[in-house]
Amino acid sequence: MASLRLDGLAHRTLAPVDLALAAGEQVFVSGPSGSGKSLLLRAIADLDPHQGEVWLGTEARSQMAPPLWRRQVGLLPAESFWWAETVGAHLPLIQSSSADAERLSGWLAGLGFEPDVLDWSVTRLSTGERQRLALVRLLAQTPEALLLDEATANLDPGNRDRVETLVEAYRHEQAAAVLWVSHDPEQRQRLGGRRFIIRTGRLELEPETGWT
């Protein structure tokens, strides 16, 4: 639907970054822990003070109300937080129309959940369940770009594949730009796309290591 372009984006530990993702493109960022990968995603979502501008299609972030921006450029943090009692209470918008409800139950099924998970208490969820449901919560706000911070880090291989499949489906269906922060080199190769690495405070194109 829309491209995502970083224009001189910089934070405390990262030199200014210029990076353009076409609509429907997927890009990976890796780097040692503490190199500022998560901070980069937080900066794009405008959660921390930083320099630079981000464009979604032809719209500049600075010209858009912050809540609208964060709805459209959806960030999935490494640790998911929940504020209401039940899972479903976090998704008030989606259950309004039957088409939306159908889509939602499709996503839930894709991640191995029954529709009744919406009535579950959040305290009942395991870490892995929280992480997968956080993705559903994010998709339910129909973002035009996805920022995924270690989206599969705590998942077993089966659930990791489910998450990857769901993200891929959403990316194709919505032509959403997807920026992954990932530690897993196999994931980067499996899913394809340009790969970047943060080294000594700069974002660099990762040298090709040869396909396995």
Partner: protein, 276 residues
């Protein structure tokens, strides 16, 4: 005990002599001695606090004597300002995580100024109808009681707000990421902070007269006022305090929660500093 009653026209008050006070102070010395004997370790603090209260109250007594004799608006204003600035400092001192810079002092002081001063003014002009409105015998005690209670409410509410915002950082940011605006994102924390600031005065109103006689009523009765008159004044004060505390806490929580976010609606916990 000195039994000389004063010869003022309508009320009879037994004047306390220095001898009476030193008898009472023996009790504090006894307490300090017990603390030393039982190794409670608070004897120094007991004595210092007792000396402080003696010095402060004597000074206030002298200052009020001067003020009452003059009824000069600038002097009364100065006194009110001193009271406000001490209260502002006290509110700041009671914060575990306070706002950095001038805000740490300003939010508390400004919200107390807005609530206590306006409620006092309203009481003096409309309710009691004092002439002139700044007559210090009414203004200073009223303002003192309002400031004292508003101070507790504001301090509790602000402390609650900043501590919970700190603890619930993940939830607040998750709400922001879900596309909620800053007011929705702190809504629950704000409500909780406000409630905590109001609970003490609500409890005080609920148990007034049943468990203990409120201080002001006690004072008036000791001074010889008819109990019904004392009760009416106490009721007036309680209503004023409830309004003042409520308004003050609301102002403080509103300003504080606004300050937790910047113009791009980011949660700015870096604006808080940890006390000590």
């Amino acid at each position: 005990m000195d039994m000389n009653a004063t010869t003022s026209p309508s009320i009879s008050l037994i004047e306390l002599s220095p001898w009476d006070l030193s008898l009472a102070s023996l009790l504090v010395l006894l307490l300090a001695g017990l603390s030393w004997r039982l190794r409670l370790g608070v004897e120094r603090r007991v004595l210092i606090a007792a000396v402080r209260s003696a010095v402060q109250l004597t000074l206030v007594g002298l200052v009020l004597k001067l003020l009452f004799a003059q009824t000069s608006l600038p002097l009364i204003g100065l006194m009110a300002l001193v009271m406000l600035s001490v209260a502002g400092f006290e509110v700041m001192q009671r914060q575990t995580r306070r706002f950095g810079g001038l805000w740490g002092y300003g939010i508390g002081a400004l919200s107390m100024f807005l609530s206590s001063f306006s409620v006092t003014l309203l009481a003096l002009t409309v309710v009691i109808g004092v002439d002139p409105w700044y007559q210090p015998q009414y203004l200073i005690p009223l303002l003192g009681m309002l400031l004292g209670n508003t101070m507790s409410g504001v301090a509790i509410a602000l402390d609650n707000l900043t501590r919970h915002a700190w603890d619930a950082r993940g939830q607040i940011e998750a709400r922001l990421l879900a596309g909620q605006d800053w007011e929705q994102a702190v809504e629950h924390i704000r409500r909780e902070a406000l409630r905590s600031g109001l609970i003490p005065i609500i409890n005080a109103m609920g148990t007034a007269g049943l468990v203990s006689l409120p201080g002001m009523m006690t004072g008036q009765i000791l001074a010889g006022s008819p109990p019904m008159e004392a009760a009416k004044y106490q009721l007036l004060i309680m209503f004023l305090i409830a309004a003042g505390t409520g308004l003050g806490s609301m102002a403080a929580v509103w300003m504080g929660s606004r300050r937790l976010f910047d113009e791009r609606q980011r949660l700015r916990l870096d604006r808080l500093t940890q006390a000590r």
